[in-house]
């Protein structure tokens, strides 16, 4: 069973407008984002199964990962 990544707001545009993407377990969030074409540095917050994690968190099977970007800013 793979994991689910849910990009927020304008990050969705990078993944072709999809609300969620299936991603492989065993890689870090950082690697996964880069593979999807999302520059990891623009991501401000990573939440895995409702807990805040770093971008170096290694994705486990079945994880639900929300990533928030700061595209527009304050």
């Amino acid at each position: 069973m793979p994991a689910t990544l849910r990009p927020s707001g304008s990050l969705r545009d990078v993944v072709g407008g999809q609300a969620e993407v299936q991603v492989e377990a065993g890689r870090t969030v950082r690697e996964t984002l880069a593979a999807l074409g999302i520059v990891p540095e623009v991501v401000a917050l990573v939440v895995v199964n409702e807990e805040q994690r770093s971008k170096d968190y290694v994705i486990q099977e079945g994880d639900v990962i929300r990533v928030l970007a700061v595209i527009g800013g304050g």
Partner: protein, 607 residues
């Protein structure tokens, strides 16, 4: 007139008269509202060379067509004036509930002009409008005054009030509202103070007419639905703008010790989740906001309550001063709010003073005995008070870093972090060329909110100097301030990623005027050019030199943090400006060309 309160309130303080004028349909069509109305009235009514603190200057307070409506974020109020801080254009955006209440009283703009012989407050209750004596309020703190009005008049009244900073004409005095919302930048509070207006209280019970009720309700509901369905709603609401603290620290954008670096070694103590856990007790929203960024805090350490701190204040009063205690930052925030001075400029000025002290330019003899090392919380609190009261050493800092560093000399000008006399807000720009350009060309001075381009830097390569970056900055500068024109908030678009096209049918249904973003971006471009022309009109020799950033960003690479050893080249800064002026249709000295003015249809406005 559909979508408008329909009246402009003109308050002549010199002779104590209040008059109402109908809102012009032409002005509404061409300038829409908010900061569009602001620049229109500023250019038309404030004579060239007016003293910002004199009777000829005006304070123009404007709502927009989505203010007070069932539209997410319709709670923004624009305060436009000639800035005492910079001598140029100022437009400060204030959240809360004031702008909605103005509209329920039937008012699109309030124009304060002249100078009152004695302290007054402006009382508005629908059509009952009076200037009333405020002698007993003068000298009082903002929270005290707001509370007093709320107790006397009721919670439905909305209050905007200046503190002692505004009374003392501190050039970066702000205006407070709703216990924690401000019109913060450029010194709008000093202009109100110069006119001897302590407060404006407003209450209205009128309905705002709309052109197509069914379409409006449908479009409004669609916007709320989009916000509520947004993946980011939960986290943005939980942390507000403090989400970006950790991110800025990570990418080297968190101003640290007077912008000498972009990462703070103790930054993690200031991160959003730490603050939420430690002090936040509730979310506090502006009018109509589905994703309230306001975090209301109970500060046990100082036995106080404060709205915030939000990102800018955490950057400027925290890392920028070497302070890693979120409760201390919250208290500094409260002091600034209560005294009525802008946390961004004040934090920047104190950072500059601390650097001067550590470099030996100031000694305790200069600082009234304060040990102004980075990280000194108590000294920071004392200085905030001294700045607002313009006492002792605080008097120097109250002038802003451009004037203060010019007086002090000894190389301190080089680390006065400002553009056009406005202190830079909380993004370190050693190696983020689009963001640096955004600060250099921002229409009020070094402020972030017109074009927040720093993620674009990260996406395309931060040191790159390419036309696309310049185009991005220009697009943002034309488009983002449109929210300040509409009387709403940009953060639903920014944070939740709401499709901006959703606003168009809402705006059309409210006003009955056909719109598109192509057209709205054009209005934004016209306003941008007008603000530039205002600067040029008011300042002899205005041009390219005024757009230069602090040398810190091209001469002194940070010695630590994520941007260690990274710096922007001076030649790249000049290339950025060349490209910017060309794309804007401006001369190589940064002034709109006659053909640009012509093609934007602005000839009549600036004639």
């Amino acid at each position: 007139m559909n979508g408008y309160g329909g009246r402009i309130l003109r308050v002549n303080l010199t002779n104590g008269t209040v008059t109402k004028e109908p809102t012009s349909p032409d002005v509404a069509r061409n300038f829409i509202g908010g900061r569009g109305f602001g620049i229109y009235f500023l250019l038309k009514e404030v004579p060239k060379g007016a003293d910002p603190l004199g009777p000829e200057n005006k304070l123009i307070i404007s709502s927009g067509p989505i203010s007070g409506m069932m539209i997410p974020g319709g709670g923004k109020c624009d305060w436009t004036t000639k800035a005492p801080l910079t001598g140029g254009y100022a437009s400060a955006s204030m959240g809360g509930h004031f702008t909605a209440e103005m509209r329920y009283a039937g008012l699109d703009s309030i124009i304060l002009e002249g100078i009152s012989p004695k302290p007054v407050y402006l009382f508005i209750d629908d059509d009952k409008i009076e200037l009333r004596d405020a002698s007993d309020l003068w000298g009082k703190a903002t929270f005290t005054v707001e509370k007093q009005f709320k107790e006397k008049l009721g919670e439905e009244f909305q209050v905007a009030v200046i503190g002692v900073g505004g009374e003392n004409l501190v050039p970066y005095a702000c205006i407070n509202h709703d216990y924690g919302r401000q019109a913060g930048r450029g010194g709008v509070g000093a202009v109100m103070g110069s006119k001897k207006v302590k407060a404006i209280v407003v209450h209205g019970t009128k309905s705002i007419p709309v052109a197509d009720m069914d379409a409006y309700r449908k479009a409004g509901m669609a916007l709320y639905k989009a916000c509520k369905d947004s993946e980011g709603l939960k986290d943005w609401t939980r942390y507000g703008t403090t989400i970006v603290v950790s991110w800025c620290d990570e990418v080297g954008a968190l101003p640290t010790r007077n912008f000498s670096a972009g990462s703070f070694e103790d930054g993690k103590n200031l991160y959003g989740p730490v603050m939420r856990e430690k002090i936040v007790i509730t979310d506090k929203g502006c009018f109509g906001c589905p994703s309230p960024c306001g975090k209301y805090s109970r500060n046990k350490k100082y036995n106080s309550y404060v709205e915030g701190p939000e990102y800018e204040t955490i950057g400027m009063m925290g890392s920028n001063l070497g302070i890693d205690d979120i409760e201390a930052v919250a208290q500094a925030n409260l002091l600034c709010d209560d005294l009525g001075i802008d946390t961004i400029s004040a934090g920047n000025a104190i950072g500059w003073a601390m650097e001067c002290y550590e470099k030996g330019i100031f000694t305790k003899k200069d600082t009234d005995g304060l040990d102004l090392k980075f990280g000194n919380v108590e000294a920071t609190f004392t200085l905030i008070e001294k700045i607002a009261r313009r006492e002792g050493f605080g008097a120097l800092l109250s002038e802003g870093v451009k004037r203060a560093s010019k007086k002090v000399g000894k190389g301190s000008e080089k680390f006065a972090i400002q553009v056009k006399g406005m202190e830079q807000s909380a993004y370190a720009t050693h190696n983020a060329t689009a963001m640096l350009l955004a600060y250099m060309t921002c229409d009020v001075g070094a402020h972030h909110n017109r074009a927040w381009a720093i993620t674009y830097d990260l996406q395309v390569g931060r040191e790159k100097v390419v036309p696309e970056k310049v185009a991005r900055v220009i697009w943002l500068q034309n488009f983002r301030p449109m929210f300040d024109v509409l009387g709403g908030c940009r953060l639903q678009w920014v944070e939740l990623g709401i499709d901006r096209d959703l606003y168009v049918p809402a705006l059309e249904a409210i006003t009955g005027i056909q719109r598109s973003w192509e057209d709205l971006d054009k209005v934004g471009e016209r306003i941008w050019n007008l603000t530039r022309l205002f600067w040029a009109r008011e300042n002899e020799g205005f041009g390219r030199a005024w757009d230069m950033p602090s040398p810190r960003f091209y001469e002194e690479a940070p010695k630590s943090g994520a941007t260690k050893g990274q710096i922007t080249k001076l030649e790249d800064i000049n290339r950025l400006l060349d490209m910017y002026y060309e794309q804007r249709g401006w001369t190589s000295d940064g002034l709109p060309k006659p053909e640009t003015i012509e093609s934007l249809g602005l000839k009549a406005v600036v004639a």
